[in-house]
Amino acid sequence: MNYYLSEELNDIKEICAGIAEKHIIPVRALLDEENRFSREIVNAMSDAGLHGIYISEEYGGSSEMFGGGSMALCIATEELSKACGGIALSFAANALGAMPIMIFGSEEQKKKYLPDLVSGAKLAAFALTEPDAGSDAGGVRTKAIKDGDYYILNGTKQWITNGGEAQIYTVIALTDPSRGARGLSAFIVEDGTPGFSYGKKEDKMGIRASATRELIFEDCRIPAENLIAKEGYGFIVAMKTLNRSRPGVAAQAIGIAQGALDEAARYASERKQFGKRIDSFQGIQFMLADMDTQIEAARALTYSVARMIDAGEKKYDKESAMAKVFASDVAMKVTTDAVQILGGYGYMKEYPVEKMMRDAKITQIYEGTNQIQRSVIASALIKETAARRK
């Protein structure tokens, strides 16, 4: 479908396709097998200018050129995900780590941290999840206690994408344990701060080319000026950040699905059984048609949400949840069907679709499980209905 992307957005697409072909496709199976993050590929993305596409020109980026950063981020994430959902995640997680600073940071914080993210000198990560705080952000136990001009952090963050590889972490911690979610605050913690170390490196089912690690804070003193927004704003910072980044997860899911469909369609055009190409069989044709249609529907929804955000819409939590739920469910379905079309070959690691199927699964889980997203959508719908009744 023609989405009438601007020339600038098409540039992003072409550049990502170039990076995918030259840097990602040749090594994706190896990185997957070795559970390894590749800084070289992330560097190639910075050299191409990709880390600036969602950051304002004021801080060295180029988001204005793309009419805001959301569509740009979606286009790039989707294109990179066609080749490898894991490597694309390292890119998108950098944006996620930067967003609290972009949306809520002070002028000083933006000037201090964003240019290094644009240049690729530094990487960012976002740290909310803990062993007891997944969908329920109110379960955060990491504490940040004020001590003069410092906050002292204690606790453990879990499953942090880009953990151990990033230099700038935006961390959600409790400044007032008596107030639950309202007692949360957001902080910037830099790699190398005494008392900040990395724990377990996760061995994941998919997206294995992305780094996922524990962050450990033991009497970690950070300057008070590293507080983002105000004390007590942590929950809002986290929620607004995730609302903004969710179309990115949808784009990742769409990319993974498209990559799988491309493989399946090509295979079906080459594979012969009973003396015929298997794409001449209606059973395969209907599967391919459904896969293609579902992906296009997910893409149309996701682009619409991204354009809505770029247009300056303030409230998009429902739409952003819809895009994430729909696209990730499509990705799981499409990648499973791609494996089915490739049959026995699809189940083998020589072909990329089994990896795509493993990579797709996480998109239904992270940045708010699809069940939580459905709750968000339903509660927004119920509110809208109630408002109409008045």
Partner: protein, 261 residues
């Protein structure tokens, strides 16, 4: 450092077919690309420009649509681009092409080094680079797989030849043709792509270069392509068994045509 990279737009040979009757390439519907060897020359130029400072100018002789490869070169980081295009240039052989390119290099002025790919993947002559040097009366180093040193004064480059390599030092200005061993060409950047879309590319014709009619295009080309054909493959070899002396005699006789003596 002012570096010129001479590039060519070529048909993507992965897709090319030959018109058997006419002995020419069928160009219709074949995508055009930047000659892959030229992309190594461009990368080498960009690499040294990044290190030493200066300007990289890409130049190409070709039809108006050859502008596309110049824009591609700018998207990768070239600073300036010039297209040499004129109806009078049509039908040029390697002599006329390199003479035209060399004249453009002279017009640009103060050029320290001209880089180009070892050959183009369509013509495969590997003549244009050396011939530019001849036309400019500059030294040349061909088939370079590694530029070891480059400064305002000299270049030290390693040329890869069949049985090893030769290290050549030359003064500047110089013409160097580059092999794919030299580097890994960079990808275009977003900034580069934006610049490539906006940059004004001057088009120089015969008159801009002050070249007389007889030195450009078909009229300026001594070469005539008589025929292009796939060489016949001879498969009627013979296998003989015997003592070395016997076999040597047999081979000598066969080569000398003295079999019956």
């Amino acid at each position: 450092m002012r570096i010129v990279v001479a590039v060519k737009q070529v048909p993507d040979t992965a897709e090319v077919r030959i018109d058997e009757e006419r002995g020419t390439l069928i160009r219709e519907g074949i995508p055009s690309i930047l000659n892959p060897f030229d992309s190594y020359a461009l990368e080498e130029a960009l690499k040294w420009r990044d290190e030493l400072g200066g300007t990289v100018i890409v130049v190409s002789m070709g039809p108006p649509q050859a502008e596309a490869v110049l824009r591609e070169a700018v998207s990768m980081g070239a600073d300036e681009a010039v297209l040499l295009s004129d109806r009078a240039f049509a039908g040029a052989d390697t002599w006329a092409t390199s003479h035209t390119l060399a004249t453009a290099v002279e017009k640009m002025g103060n050029i320290d080094i001209v880089l180009t790919g070892k050959q183009a993947i369509d013509g495969d002559t590997a003549q244009t680079g050396p011939s530019i040097a001849a036309s400019l009366d500059w030294p040349q180093i061909t088939f370079v797989g590694n530029v070891r040193e480059l400064s305002e004064k000299h270049i030290i480059a390693e040329r890869y030849v069949e049985d090893g390599s030769e290290v050549i030092k030359s003064s500047l200005p110089v013409v160097v043709t580059i092999l794919k061993d030299a580097n890994i060409p960079r990808l275009p950047s977003l900034k580069g792509k934006m610049r490539a879309r906006k940059i004004e590319i001057p088009v120089w014709g015969k008159d801009d270069l002050e070249l007389p009619e007889g030195e450009v295009g078909l009229d300026g080309s001594p070469t005539r392509v008589v025929n292009i054909a796939t060489p016949e493959i001879f498969t009627d070899g013979q296998i003989h068994h015997g003592e070395p002396e016997e076999l040597a005699k047999l081979m000598a006789d066969s080569l000398l045509g003295t079999e019956d003596s």
